[in-house]
Amino acid sequence: MESRKVIFRIKRFNPKKDERPYYKEYEIDVPKGMTILEALQYIKDNIDPTLAFRAFCRSAICGSCSVKINGYPKLACKTQVFNELDVYNTNILTIEPIDNMEVIRDLIVDWDSAIQKMEKMRPYLIPDPEVVPETLDEECKVYPHELKKFDKFTDCILCTTCYSACGIVRVDSNYGGPFPLARVYRFAVDPRDSLKKERAKIGFSFDMWNCVRCNKCADVCPKHIAPVDGIMKLRGLSIEIGLRNNPGARHVMAFYKSLQESGMLNEVLLPLRTKGIKGVLENLSIGIKMILKGKAHSPIMKPIKEHETLKEVMKRAMEVE
């Protein structure tokens, strides 16, 4: 059977012993079909028993084995070595711990902080006595279309891959992060929950408006969940419950108004509506620089031709939502 010689360049670090992380290389013969996790275990069994990494189910359901492979966070157990070699056209694979969490040892990171954040966000059903029967003689009625609203988000295996990839998590220590916020949304639209839309307040207090919609969390999720979608919908709920008095919500409202009025985004009016005059003045110099460098539009805009149609589309979209 086909096999290839592969060099695994693995980042090693034991904070109790090593001054700084270093890379160690291991060359092994990889048969077709071998996963990154199996390769790691092979190295541990046969070359270096001190290599430390986490794994449990080896079938992409427990979320233990997230690591960075050539810079990209993935589940080691779900990743074929040959595939990676082909994608990067190389015989060297670099394996590192995932980001945004402290390294305990080698590829093992401390995800407590991420989980603790989630735990503070009340990620559990608080039954609505109006919906959930008092006795166990009957079940709640949940219709398939209701389930559909949150079903996908219950696929989350807490692998923290998305959390490790999110830039806002890195810069804002209060930011809830993709999977915790998506879980808040999951409960917000569960008909059995008593907080329901009010849960948006939790998202609000964990800076959900700071998400920049870069979509990284969606790109890396091994379960094909898009946490960002949950966050956007949670934002929607916050506007619905009248939680508007914040830059994020105002930004969305301004965005909407601007499209309504002109069919285009007015990038000058947008900050004005979002942040008020004071905010705009603070950012004015950056704005002017951006216009001069051609990175922003001139504040003077003419309505576009398709504006009326757009307005209609938006109106319908709002009705559907």
Partner: protein, 566 residues
């Protein structure tokens, strides 16, 4: 020393339900320790579903559920336990539903149910193909809500008791490497199954190494029906990861080296859709008689061929199985057949308990796959294990809470902590003449060929010898990693030592059970023998270190044994 009223070891479905139950009692100090973060427990891997006679799709009753279970068990299950479980099933399913578990739904909003092997009605509640996963997540969420204390990535090493009452547990904090005495009035073991003993051929998670039964055995607590290990016919060749029955359900073929659909020799009518144990035996026979394939790593297998179904059908109906084959075998079933072989899947046997999870040591309980109540007897029905773990997790939790209300702590002998420290030190100091990986693979082969799908006196005697030999050789395994921060080399070695210990009980039980019943199939005794073997095997370790086997009657209430015909 750490001190709790109740200490729960294991955070799968059984451990979490026990924790939830105890968290309802005010003033109890309860902690759950688990060697992995709770939601990583193996319960999450269960896809199919969980049984309960809700009657949402067709009229059904707990009694019919009980009958199917007893019949499926080949009449070895204790019928009082089965009746209790089936009676509680609808309520506990609704309880979890009220906690937010996202079951799949019918158009009328009720919980959907689907048919499953061995059940006479569509009785299996499910959540798409992620039932165990959402069950685990939901229970974990509720535990957070109830402020349950979790000690994650802690490894239980041994039980401490005075011969009558439990005193606590000795455990290793994997992150720091510290060894702690943990005092408790009651201890509930919920450490899951042990099919990892068949290392190279199992659907189980890496940590399903029988730590609970091994600890119990060392502490003099008996194990029950250990010879019964369930194999699932279609595990992936290299990893043993499960390819669910859906693939055959949609019309997949099983093919041998000669390109032949060999099931025609074993079940000409049902072909690939014959019962699990029959299909498993057919595949093994093909391989034994030289009609299987062998790859360069030495794996033997046959093919599960889906290609004739066509790309469209595979993409529409079997997308998960396709993803699995691509991710874990590097094979796209649209273009290539999937290499498969039966895989060790479920441990019917375990720590001997009564219906409240009580063991012979007062205050020591066991629940879930590590325990044996017994509701699965010689063969578990699909969907009954997820039910078993929640029902008996709950009952053990309740009983333990009652127990601690009436009992005080007993002294904890601190020398037990030092004993474990010394054991671990010895592992660092060994000569290293033997390697963990070699012995682990050898144990896997010995068990697969000696006490696997087919069993026979001579081979089992050899296997028993070999397991004992491996146990001796294991005294030379050295732990090379000396750093106590997250020492996974140490952890894997400790797990292996537990597996060898449990393996011996499986072979011994299998050797002594001279009949064929359920998953236990002896070529030298092909018939079920109710006259001599309608009884549970009980194995315990005597103080001088030998294994002692005895027997215990099966509890029969309503259903008289009859021939198991399908």
């Amino acid at each position: 020393m750490l001190q709790y009223d109740i200490l729960i070891v294991g955070a799968g479905g059984a451990g979490l339900y026990a924790a939830l139950e105890t968290s309802k009692r005010k003033g109890l100090k309860v902690a759950v320790i688990s060697k992995v973060f709770p939601t990583r427990s193996h319960t999450g891997a269960a896809q199919g579903g969980v049984n309960a006679a809700l009657g949402n799709v067709a009229p059904d009753s707990p009694e019919k559920h009980a009958y199917d279970t007893v019949k499926g068990s080949d009449f070895l299950a204790d019928q009082d336990a089965v009746e209790l479980m089936c009676e509680m099933a609808p309520k506990i399913i609704r309880e979890m539903e009220h906690m937010g578990l996202p079951f799949s739904r019918l158009e009328n909003g009720k919980i959907a149910q689907r048919p499953f092997g061995g059940a006479s009605f569509p009785r299996t509640c499910y959540s798409a193909d992620k039932t165990g996963h959402v069950m685990l997540q939901t229970l974990y969420e509720q535990c957070i809500k109830n402020n349950v204390t979790f000690l994650n990535e802690w490894f239980a090493l041994s039980l401490v008791h005075n011969g009558e009452r439990i005193a606590g547990v000795v455990a290793l904090d994997l992150r720091t490497g510290e060894i702690h005495g943990m005092r408790a009035k009651a201890v509930i073991l919920a450490t899951g199954g042990h099919a990892r003993i068949y290392w190279k051929r199992t659907s189980n998670a890496l940590g399903n190494t029988g730590d609970g039964p091994a600890m119990a055995l060392r502490a003099g607590v008996p194990l029950k029906d250990m010879e019964f290990v369930q194999f699932h016919p279609t595990g992936l060749r290299r990893t043993g990861i499960l390819v669910t029955e859906g693939a055959r359900g949609e019309g997949g073929y099983l093919i041998n080296k000669d390109g032949e659909r060999f099931m025609k020799r074993y079940a000409p009518e049902k072909m690939e859709l014959a019962p699990r144990d029959l299909v498993s035996r057919a595949i093994e026979t093909e391989i034994m008689e030289g009609r299987g394939f062998k790859d360069s790593e030495g794996n033997e297998f046959v093919y599960l061929d889906l290609r004739h179904l066509g790309k469209k059908k595979i993409l529409e109906r079997l997308p998960q199985i396709r993803e699995l084959a691509i991710d874990f075998e590097g094979v796209d079933p649209i273009e290539e057949p999937i290499p498969i072989r039966p895989t060790a899947h479920y441990s019917m046997g375990g720590i001997d308990t009564d219906i409240y999870g009580r063991t012979i040591i007062k205050g020591l309980y066991a629940a879930g796959e590590c325990g044996c109540v017994s509701v699965h007897g010689a063969n578990r029905l699909g969907g009954n294990s997820l039910l078993d773990i929640v029902v008996f997790g709950k009952l053990a939790g309740e009983d333990a809470a009652n127990f601690v209300a009436e009992n005080s702590f007993i002294p904890f002998d601190e020398s037990e902590v030092r004993k474990e420290e010394e054991k671990i030190k010895a592992l660092f100091d060994n000569d290293g003449k033997e390697r963990l990986v070699d012995l682990r693979n050898e144990l896997s082969d010995v068990m697969t060929y000696g006490a696997g799908i087919f069993r026979e006196e001579k081979k089992m005697k050899e296997a028993l010898e070999k397991v004992r030999e491996i146990k001796e050789r294991a005294k030379h395994i050295k732990v090379y990693d000396k750093d106590m921060t997250f020492n996974t080399n140490l952890q894997q070695t400790l797990e292996f030592l537990n597996m060898v210990e449990v393996a011996e009980t499986i072979v011994l039980g299998a050797l002594e059970r001279k009949e064929s019943r359920g998953a236990h199939s002896r070529t030298d005794y092909p018939k079920r023998d109710d006259e001599n073997f309608l009884k549970h095997s009980i194995i315990e370790r005597t103080p001088d270190g030998d294994l002692k086997i005895s027997w215990k009657p099966v509890k029969i209430t309503k259903f008289q044994p009859e021939e198991r015909k399908y």
